[in-house]
């Protein structure tokens, strides 16, 4: 794992991307952020760039679109996991269909409260930074 690597965010909703960026700015981690509107774009980035990302946050709704999309997104999961990059799902409510919660690293709720959401993102980043190996 690369603690200094980029934080990848897979999110098609512009407002949610904006909130995520505000939260990450607020938390002040030095990691670069790279945003994608779908899993396919994130996978392309991983395959075509030299960078070794630290973590991926992905909106859960992006793996619910269609069978085709599901297959594609699940492949994205596997690609990231095989590179030992934590793949974290974010959802709007706790009522998400558990069958879609494909990440072993868990899914987390985008709460209405920015301060709670900030705490969640901070906890997730702290957790994986404490995991071994350190780079």
């Amino acid at each position: 794992m690369n603690n200094n690597g980029a934080i990848l965010v897979i999110e098609d909703n512009e407002d949610d991307r904006f909130i995520m960026e505000e939260v990450l700015i607020d938390l002040n981690y030095p990691n670069n952020r790279v945003y994608f509107s779908g899993g396919k774009e994130a996978m392309d980035y991983l395959q075509n760039s030299e960078s070794n990302p630290f973590i991926v946050f992905s909106d859960i709704s992006l793996i619910k679109l269609s069978d085709l999309e599901v297959k594609r997104e699940l492949r994205a999961d596997r690609v990231f996991l095989s590179r030992r990059i934590p793949f974290i799902l974010l959802s709007d409510t706790s009522n998400t269909n558990i069958a879609y919660d494909r990440s072993p690293q868990g899914s987390f709720i985008k709460t209405c409260s920015i301060s709670e959401f900030t705490k969640t993102i901070n906890t997730v980043i702290e957790y994986w930074q404490r995991c071994s190996p350190q780079n």
């Binding site: 706790s94 998400t96 494909r102 990440s103 690293q105 899914s107 987390f108 957790y127 071994s132 190996p133």
Partner: protein
Amino acid sequence: MNKSGEIVIIEDDEDDRYLLEDVFNSLECTNNRLYFEDGEAALEYLQHSSSVPFLILSDVNMPRLNGFELRHKLHTDAELQIKCIPYLFFSTAISQEAVIAAYSMSAQGFFVKQGVFEDLRTTIQVILEYWKRCAAPNNF
């Protein structure tokens, strides 16, 4: 996920068990802790217990059934609800092979066993916070 369930700790070193218990006490952790000295004892408990634990914290190097073997057994044999318990590895000696083996099984965390109380306390605190905030982990 049973967030009020017990925390299963598999650790063959008595000093490490004491240190961990001191840490949990200092964090005023409300989850009960259950300690096992080897993987087989933990497997026996997990397969027959009626309760669903919150977390499993597992040493890697242990007599009889090591941490990797235990996790593999749980994932092939156990009920779904047991498979879904976050399984975290702790080890003093972290080899590259061990880390790769852990992540090839989609690990939920691989931590260095810190001997310093404050360091270990912060790690355990972050672990508890992470899984309490998590909505639904799924191993598959």
